[in-house]
Amino acid sequence: MKFTISKDKLNSLVQKVLNIVPVRSTLPVLSNILLEADKDKVKMRATDLDVAITSELEADIKNKGSLTVPGRMFADLIRELPEGDVVITGVDKRIEVKSERGLYKIAGISADEFPRFPKIDFTDEVKIDTDVIKGMISKSIFAVSRDETRPALNGILWKCEEGLLTMVATNGHILAKVEQSGLDVKGIEKGVIVPPKALEYFSKLSVDAPDEIGLVFAADNLVLNLDNTILTTRLIDGPYPNFEQVIPKEHSKRAVFDKDEFLALVRRVSILSNNITHQIKLVFGAESIEAMATNYDIGGEGRDEIAMDYQGEELEIGYNANYLLEIMKHVETDQAVMEFTTGTAAAVIDSISHPENQDYCFLIMPLRLAE
C-alpha cells in the first residue's frame, strides 16, 4: 500500500472515523483504523461492533493494499504534521508516514483481523433533507431511556407508513413524538428501534454533510449515506411499547403561556427543590401558573408565578423539574401549550404551531404529590 494525500485532507478523514473507535475494547483490533488504498481512493473504516463508519477521499494511489493502525496515535500524529503532502506506505505490518522532512513508523495489525463489514444494497435508498432528519432526531433523542434492563427503550423508534415518518423516544416518564409527512422510507412500516449513538454522531457530522442524505434499512442495520461517509448501526430488538395508547386524545384543561418565562420560572423555583427528586409543584389557576418547591434537607422553599391563559378548573400537579426543562427546550414557538385532564395522568406539552409537514408533541408523567 502506498499513497499520497495532503495533510489537511488526511486529517479530516481520520478525524471523521476516529469518533467511532472505542476507547476501551476487549478486541485489540477495534482500537485500530483500517486504511484501504484502492484505484483512486483511500478509505478508512472504524467500528465498535455496534456502529461502523466508512469514509473515503480521493488520493494519489501508487500501490493498492490495506492495513490497520492504532487509531488514536495515528490521528494525533496526522494532526501535528506540518502542512503539505503526506506519503503513507505499508511495509510488512508497519505503516510509514512521510512528511516533507519527517518519517514516522507505527506498527499495525493485519487487515484480515478487522471485522468484516456487511455489503450494503443501496437499491431501496431514500434521499432525505439533512436538516429535517437532524431536527427530528434532536427533538426525540433526549427522551431515550438509560435503563439497560429495557433495551427497547434505549433507542428511537422509527416508523414510516404512507409517507409519514414518525420518531418516538421515551424513558417511561417522558415521551417525545415527531412526525414528518412527505417521506417514503421503505421497510420500516412496522417500526425499528435505532440506538442513539450513531444518530448522535450523525448530528455532529452533518455540519458539513450534503443537503440530502441517503437512508437504507437492511438486514437489521440502518445505513446513513453522507456521500463520502457511510454510517451503519445495528438495530435494537423490539417490541417497542404501544405509545399511541398512552397519548391522551382529549383534555379538559388547556394552558397557554410564554415558553421562556416558564423556563425561567422552573429554573428559579427548582433551585429550592429536593435535589434527588427535583419535585416542583405547579398550580394552574385562572390567570397564572404558580410554581412551588420545598427542600426539607436545607430548610428551603420557593414560590413564584407567571401569567397564563388557562381554561379549566384549578389544578395542582407535581413534576420533575428536570423533565419539564428538558421538554420545554424543544418547544420551538414562543408560546407553549400544556394540556391535561387530571393530576395523575400524562400531560401533553406542545408548541402553539408547527412547521409545515411536521408535527410533534411531548408527554410528561406527574411526580405525584403525597397527601
Binding site: 478486541l27 438509560r146 416518564h173 449513538k197 403525597a370
Partner: protein
C-alpha cells in the same frame, strides 16, 4: 452440687416417647419441616395430587392429603413406631436410596410434638383406617370411610415443647418458608399436582404438568418466561436418564438477593450444594453480581450409588462421589444456555484469554439484544453529551457542607472539605469507590454504601411523614409474583405506597407498578420491588421495626451498585447528599462508607521522613 440424695439409681433408659422427642429436635425444627416430611412421604407413595391445608403458618394446622397407594390399618400403626419404614430393609439398601424418606423417623417424631391424626386407604380395600396419636401415644385405631390415599392432619405443633415454639418466627414468615419449600417440590415433581391453602384461602394450585416448562409458567407466569433459558437437551429431555443434567437457568436480570429460588434437584429431590452453586456462578462469568442468585431448576440424574444422602437428617445436603467431574460439566452447560440466550458472547467468554482470534469476528453479525457490556459504551457517549445539563440545573450545597466549610474540618469525623476549585475534584476507582483528595488525606467513599445511606434516610423520612413522592410511569409494569411474594405484598402494600411505590392488584399473583419512588434510580424498578418483598419473607432485617426494615431493604436494592460507572455530576451529588445525612460513616446495615488514607500513611510507603506537623 450433690448428684444423688437417696439410694435410687439416677440413670434410666429413656422411654420411647422421649427418644422420639429428641429425634424430633433434629428433624422437626419448624412447621416447614413437618410439611417437608409429609410431602416426601406422599411423593414416595406415588401421589399424583397433593393438597396442603395450613392454618396460622402451620402452627395450628397442617393437613396433607394425597392420592397415593395408601396404607393398611396395621401398617398405619407401625408407621408411628420409631425407625419403622417400608423403604429400607437392610443396611445395604442405604446405598441405593431412590425414595425421599428412609429414616423412619419422621412420623413418630412429628407425633411426639403434635396432635396427629392419620387416615388412609389402599385401593384393594373398601374402607380405610384412622389412627390418632397424642404426644407420641397411639389413642386408637378404627375403620373409616375415605378415598384411596393418605391424609395426615397435624395440629397444635410443639404444644408440648414450648421452648421450640419460642424460636419460631411469625406465622407469616413460617408460611413463606412453607410456600418456598412446597414450590421447590412442585418444581422437582412437575408431574404431580400441588395445591396449598392458608386459613381457608387458596394460595396456589398447580395442576399436574407434562413438562417442566408448564410448571415454570404456572409458578412464574408468562411475563418472564423468555428469561428462562433451557440447558441443552431440556426441551425434549428424558429426566429419568442416568447421568442427565437438564432444566432451566435464568437471565441475570432475574437474579434475586436470596438463594431460595436457585433450585437443584438430584433424582427429583431438592438439595443444597455449594459445589453446584459455585459451578453455576462460574458458568455466568461476570454477568452475575456476587450477592445475587438466579432462579433455576436444574435436575441431576445420578445413580444412587454415586451419592450419599444420609449426611444430614434434614437430607438437604448431599455428597457426590464425582464432584470434580460435575463442576466443569455444569459450568459448561450453563455457559451454553447463556450463549444461546444471548447473555454471553464468545467475546465475553474469552476475556481472560490474551487475544481472541481476530478473523472470527464479524461486524454486527447477529442480533445481540441483551448484551449489556456492549451497550454501556454506547450509553455513555450519549449521556456525556446529552444529559450534562441535568447536573447543572439544581445542584445546591446542603447545610452539612457549609458546616464543614466553616473550619475546614468536620467535628464528627475529622473530614475536611475538598479544595474549592473548578477542576475535577473527585474520581472513581474500580467503578465502585469515589476518591476525593483532601489537603492532608485521601477519602475513599463506597458508592453503594453511601447511596444506600442517603436513600435510607430519605425513605425513613417518607415513611414517618407519609411524604413519599411518586414518579408515575407512562407504561406501567406488570409483574407475576410468586405466592410467597404476593402474600408479603398484600400485607405491606400500604407501606410500599407510603414509600412512593404505586402498586395495585392485577389478577392472580400479578401486580401492576404504575409509579416508583421519586428518589429511586430508574433502572429495573420491578426487580428492586421483588427483592424488597424477598427480604421481607425472611422477616425483615430489623425485627422490631418494620419501617426500618423496609427502608433498609429499599435503600439496599434501589441504590447504585458497586461496579457501576458514574458521571462526574453523579459523584458530586452522592458526595454532597452523603454529608447532608444525619449519619454518614455507616450504611444502614452497619458497614463503613468512608475509608481514609492520610498523607503520613502515603509518605510512609515511600520511606520518607515524616515531617513533624503542628
Amino acid at each position: 452440687m450433690h448428684f444423688s440424695t437417696g439410694d435410687k439409681p439416677k440413670i434410666k433408659v429413656l422411654d420411647e416417647t422421649l427418644i422420639n422427642k429428641i429425634a424430633a429436635g433434629e428433624v422437626i425444627e419448624r412447621p416447614a419441616s413437618v410439611v417437608k416430611e409429609l410431602v416426601e412421604n406422599a411423593l414416595d407413595a406415588g401421589a399424583e395430587n397433593i393438597s396442603i391445608e395450613l392454618e396460622e403458618g402451620g402452627l395450628r394446622l397442617i393437613a396433607i392429603h394425597d392420592d397415593g397407594v395408601g396404607m393398611l390399618g396395621e401398617d398405619l400403626e407401625l408407621a408411628f413406631t420409631r425407625h419403622a419404614t417400608s423403604k429400607l430393609a437392610k443396611a445395604d439398601d442405604l446405598f441405593n436410596i431412590l425414595s425421599f424418606g428412609f429414616r423412619g423417623e419422621a412420623l413418630p417424631s412429628i407425633a411426639s410434638v403434635a396432635h396427629v391424626k392419620a387416615i388412609s386407604r389402599v385401593k384393594e380395600r373398601d374402607s380405610g383406617s384412622e389412627i390418632e396419636i397424642d404426644g407420641g401415644r397411639v389413642k386408637g385405631l378404627k375403620a373409616t370411610g375415605c378415598p384411596v390415599g393418605t391424609s395426615i392432619i397435624v395440629s397444635n405443633l410443639f404444644y408440648n415443647t414450648p421452648a421450640r415454639r419460642k424460636f419460631l418466627k411469625s406465622p407469616r414468615s413460617e408460611l413463606s418458608r412453607i410456600t418456598d419449600l412446597v414450590t421447590s417440590y412442585a418444581v422437582g415433581n412437575f408431574d404431580v399436582g400441588f395445591k396449598i391453602s392458608h386459613n381457608g384461602r387458596e394460595l396456589y394450585n398447580f395442576p399436574p404438568a407434562a413438562k417442566l416448562y408448564e410448571r415454570i409458567i404456572a409458578i412464574y407466569g408468562t411475563d418472564d418466561i423468555e428469561k428462562f433459558l433451557p440447558l441443552p437437551g431440556t426441551d425434549e429431555g428424558m429426566f429419568n436418564q442416568p447421568g442427565s443434567i437438564l432444566g432451566y437457568i435464568t437471565h441475570p436480570v432475574m437474579a434475586k438477593s436470596r438463594s431460595n429460588e436457585t433450585r437443584f434437584f438430584v433424582n427429583f429431590r431438592p438439595i443444597m450444594s455449594r459445589t453446584l452453586l459455585a459451578a453455576l456462578r462460574a458458568g455466568y462469568h461476570d454477568k452475575l453480581a456476587p450477592n445475587l442468585y438466579p432462579p433455576t431448576a436444574i435436575f441431576f440424574n445420578i445413580l444412587p450409588r454415586d451419592i450419599d444422602v444420609n449426611v444430614h437428617p434434614a437430607k438437604t445436603e448431599i455428597r457426590f462421589k464425582n464432584e470434580s467431574e460435575l463442576f466443569p460439566k455444569l459450568k459448561r452447560l450453563v455457559e451454553h444456555a447463556l450463549k444461546s440466550g444471548g447473555v454471553l458472547t464468545e467475546l465475553s467468554l474469552n476475556t481472560d484469554e490474551a487475544k481472541p482470534s481476530g478473523n472470527g469476528t464479524q461486524f454486527i453479525h447477529a442480533k445481540r439484544g441483551n448484551d449489556f457490556s456492549k451497550r454501556t459504551d454506547m450509553q455513555e457517549s450519549l449521556y456525556k453529551g446529552g444529559f450534562k445539563e441535568y447536573g447543572e440545573s439544581s445542584e445546591t450545597a446542603p447545610s452539612r457542607e457549609s458546616d464543614i466549610e466553616k473550619d475546614g474540618v468536620d467535628i464528627h469525623s475529622g473530614i475536611e472539605k475538598p479544595h474549592e476549585s473548578t477542576e475535577q475534584r473527585m474520581w472513581q476507582f474500580m467503578d465502585s469507590f469515589i476518591v476525593v483528595p483532601l489537603k492532608n488525606s485521601m477519602l475513599f467513599i463506597d458508592q453503594h454504601n453511601a447511596h444506600e445511606r442517603i436513600l435510607f434516610e430519605a425513605a425513613m423520612e417518607n415513611l414517618d411523614s407519609g411524604k413519599g413522592a411518586t414518579q408515575q410511569m407512562l407504561f406501567p409494569i406488570s409483574i407475576d409474583l410468586t405466592p410467597g411474594e404476593f402474600a408479603i405484598w398484600n400485607e405491606y402494600s400500604e407501606v410500599l405506597n407510603r414509600l412512593g411505590f404505586e402498586t395495585s392488584e392485577f389478577g392472580g399473583h400479578s401486580i401492576l407498578i404504575s409509579g416508583i419512588p421519586a428518589e429511586m434510580d430508574d433502572k429495573a424498578p420491578e426487580s428492586a420491588l421483588r427483592r424488597i418483598l424477598d427480604d421481607f419473607q425472611e422477616g425483615g432485617e430489623f425485627k422490631d421495626d418494620p419501617f426500618k426494615s423496609i427502608a433498609a431493604s429499599f435503600a439496599c436494592h434501589a441504590a447504585i451498585k458497586a461496579g457501576q460507572k458514574l458521571q462526574y455530576e453523579e459523584m458530586e451529588q452522592i458526595f454532597n447528599k452523603l454529608f447532608a445525612c444525619q449519619e454518614f460513616n455507616l450504611c444502614p446495615h452497619g458497614r463503613p462508607i468512608i475509608a481514609r488514607l492520610t498523607s503520613q500513611e502515603v509518605e510512609k510507603k515511600f520511606n520518607r521522613h515524616v515531617p513533624i506537623r503542628d
